[in-house]
Symmetry: C2
Subunit: 292 residues, 2 copies
């Protein structure tokens, strides 16, 4: 089964597991709407790619980890889009959850997805107990206080933002959790894999900043030029377009070089370089300096 199919099927199955007739219909529909159709599923793909590079001896565990990571990501999108934050009207090419289902169900959808992310880990029946503990810890750290995506979003409420902590928490934390959880699910040492996730997370953030400045809403599937409008930090606004493109190259190099020795290291390096090339639209793409 290819990675895409594996992720989509596991997400369908995770939602079906809690969407019986007992569930209020609005919540069931809103949660489904928030998860399907997905975006690029970059974080769960990364999680599974790392697990595979480490031999992936327990696919149920790595699949559950990937699903948990993606559900947390979906939850953060739904809550970040709320009127009290970005008040975004578009997400993944359609109306944001609060626009489609109202604000109450959008709050509850995010909550339900956070809970489900931890719940799915316990369903991987054969997962070793020690790994279960590590995976829950990894996901909790990536999401909550002091440095997870929730804390990242909370930096936007401060009068003085610690920029590096803000970006590390808001984007880097879940990428670092994706690589660490992929490794942990395969029985490898997760701490050796966090630098890869952190570098890719920052690269993804820089690419997002570049697209926010250069793209139109139709190309992005969400509101464009939001950073300038909302006064948020943006690498392309700070460094200029060329500076930001160089920074992106440096981060991909750092990511590739950080990969620890493992059975599937060569293949993983190739995948990362190939996917990094697709982070930008064709009009902005340049030949990568990094080679596998």
């Amino acid at each position: 089964m290819d990675t895409h199919t594996r992720i989509e099927r596991a997400l369908v199955s995770a939602l079906e597991g809690v969407s019986q007739q007992d569930c209020p219909g609005g919540l069931r529909a809103a949660v489904h709407y928030a998860v399907f159709p997905g975006g690029a599923r970059i974080r769960p793909r990364l999680c599974l790619q790392v697990a595979r590079a480490c031999g992936d001896p327990d696919p149920a565990a790595s699949t559950a980890a990937a699903v948990g990571i993606e559900l947390l990501h979906c939850a953060s999108l739904v809550h970040d889009d709320l009127p009290c934050f970005d008040n975004a009207s578009l997400r993944r090419g359609k109306a944001s959850v609060h626009r489609a289902f109202g604000e109450p169900l959008a709050v509850l959808t995010g909550d339900a997805l956070i809970v489900l992310a931890f719940d799915v880990l316990t369903d991987a029946a054969d997962i070793s107990p020690r790994r279960l503990r590590t995976l829950i810890k990894t996901l909790a750290r990536a999401t909550g206080m002091p440095g997870g995506i929730v804390a990242g979003q909370a930096w936007e409420c401060e009068s003085q933002i610690d920029l590096s902590r803000y970006q590390r928490a808001k984007t880097g934390a879940l990428f670092a959790a994706a690589t660490a959880a992929g490794a942990a699910a395969a029985g490898a040492e997760p701490s050796q894999w966090t630098l890869l996730g952190e570098s890719l997370g920052e690269a993804f953030q820089v690419a997002d900043d570049i697209r926010d400045v250069a793209d139109t809403s139709a190309q992005m599937g969400k509101d464009a030029a939001q950073d300038a409008t909302l006064g948020r930090p943006n690498a392309a606004l700070q460094l200029g377009l060329d500076g930001a493109l160089n920074r992106l190259d440096d981060l991909i190099s750092a990511a590739v070089e950080s990969i620890p020795t493992c059975v599937g290291g060569r293949q993983l390096r190739k995948q990362i370089i190939s996917e990094a090339a697709r982070l930008l639209p064709p009009s902005l793409a340049r030949p990568m300096r990094v080679v596998a």
Copy 2:
């Protein structure tokens, strides 16, 4: 150490564990404000009372379970108070979190508390792996879809409410989780303990309904007469005050009778009857029909 001190210390310690200087100050303050000072801590007390009735061989596990339950309860209060739901100005005798810290931090506070509830379970170092899985499953079921407190709140967004599912999910689920988690943390079979929690949860809801109709805001520490104002179901409005008081008695009887044979059963029965008598203000209290 008495139960009250045990719960408060464990809550302080759980929050300190994630409140380092790295955490944005507003989020740290809002989370602390949402948890301290607490209300009656009914759910974590119940969790520890059940654990003790089952012998409580692993106090770190039962304490972690009690803390997880209380953090989920605090999270649900913060989110339920939001303007898009109850728009409550008062909670536990002070301004609600969104009134004190703004709506963005209130959303994030709820999110952070949900995550922390699962996180604390992994910190009980000696907890047996099988129990860890059961506890996470128990907390997730009580909180998420299809029948947890989030789903309970989502019933309020439906045009047709299934009343019994609504109340079971909105209040009963977390009480049932408190008793089940207390049992599971002590190595007892959790399913034998859910009826106790469900009955007490419904009793608590009926008492809350009675107070909502009969009390003033000053006595309750939160907005009174909210159910009539918001058109929500209320047992005292449906059954009349006497009918609701009789229903409360029946539920406490059912709770006491459901307690399985266990080493501390007699003491637990006494505790439940004694605490049930305090669910109503003195002006409404009547002699209980149940005897231990």
